[in-house]
Amino acid sequence: MDKNMKILVVDDFSTMRRIIKNLLRDLEFTNTVEADDGKTALPILQAGGIDFLVTDWNMPGMTGIDLLKAVRSDPELVDLPVLMVTAEAKREQIIMAAQAGVNGYVIKPFTAATLKEKIDKVFERIDG
């Protein structure tokens, strides 16, 4: 796993973006960018250079699940690893995210250890 990879963090709550960015920095991922919903995230992704997407689900404008679907239907982005970090915990939603091609799913509130474990798992599967 490349610690210099560029990570896009998408959440409509700025406090949560700061928490995730700080946790990532603690895990030595310092190359992060932010967006506050799918609508602002998509152009950043399409511009290229993002190696990993961490996104919330419930956001105004464009939700995380729609962003995930957009990513998976874009030939340039189809293989981008996506980790969903969300408060949505209904079974049908987790299944929906899995079917839409999410690589990992973390429910809020989460711990630093959980985030690390899921990121490791996502890249274990990709690198291995």
């Binding site: 959440d11 709550f13 406090t15 949560m16 700061r18 928490i19 700080n22 946790l23 603690d26 689900w57 419930n58 939700t63 408060a87 949505e88 915990a89 209904k90 079974r91 049908e92 939603q93 987790i94 299944i95 899995a98 799913y105 973390v106 429910i107 809020k108 509130p109 989460f110 711990t111 630093a112 959980t114």
Partner: protein
């Protein structure tokens, strides 16, 4: 009392109309309308008081019925959960700070003591025996700093994670604000109905995204992942 007044007014109105006295009839109509307006406020108050008791049998607005039966108790529990979450976050933060303050205080005291000794050494005012002691103290200080700073980092991380409450409680409060707004709209509709204008009641819709799971509210019917382990189990059952 008001019935008698209105009856009198009505009789006079009929009389005036029969006599073809337009201006008198208009005046009487205004008086009746004025009487009705002042009654409206009392009526709204009375309606609101009776609302709670009569709601179950009240078929005028199914939306308000649903709100009083389900959404308002539901909102109370959600707000209670907000209190719990903010309290937890505050305690988590305070615990971390209380744990860290003595650590940083101790490091600070040590650093001050050692720096004054160090200055004496630089000024060549320190006998060799004392220098040997100081070296040992500095070694000890470095050793202890490592452990303490690790503790500080851990505490700072705890404080960082505690701030996650803002996202969750924000989502919950947003939802309750929507409920209050809906209730307000429905009350306005009810007032319109009491003015004999019927407004079609709307269906109560489940939100598209249920949002944060509030224990005791959202997990009653199952179908909800209570924690990360449930999510992991579900995903691994799907071959993840």
């Amino acid at each position: 009392m008001t019935n008698d007044i209105r009856l009198d007014l009505a009789r006079n109105l009929v009389k005036a109309l029969e006599q073809g006295d337009e201006s008198k009839a208009d005046g009487l109509l205004d008086e009746i309308a004025g009487l009705r307006e002042s009654q409206l406020f009392q009526e709204v108050g009375r309606l609101t008081r009776q609302l709670h008791d009569t709601m179950s049998g009240f078929s005028v607005d199914s939306k308000i019925t649903a709100m009083t039966e389900r959404d308002i108790p539901d909102a109370k529990e959600r707000l209670q959960y907000v209190i719990t979450m903010t309290e937890q976050a505050a305690n988590q933060t305070l615990n971390a700070v209380e744990g860290l303050l003595p650590v940083s205080q101790e490091l600070n005291e040590q650093a001050e003591l050692l720096s004054s000794k160090w200055e004496r050494f630089l000024d060549r005012e320190m006998p060799f025996a004392e220098f040997k002691d100081m070296s040992a103290e500095i070694t000890q200080h470095f050793y202890q700093s490592k452990g303490s700073l690790k503790q500080v980092q851990q505490g700072l991380n705890e404080i960082l994670m505690a701030q996650g409450f803002q996202d969750i409680t924000g989502q919950i409060i947003k939802r309750v604000i929507e409920l209050v707004h809906d209730l307000e709209t429905s009350m306005v509709e009810l007032i319109k109905i009491s003015g004999s204008k019927r407004v079609a009641s709307k269906e109560v819709n489940e939100p598209d995204l249920p949002g944060p799971v509030v224990p005791g509210v959202d997990d009653k019917d199952g179908g909800v992942a209570a924690n990360q382990d449930d999510v992991d189990d579900l995903l691994s059952s799907m071959g993840f």
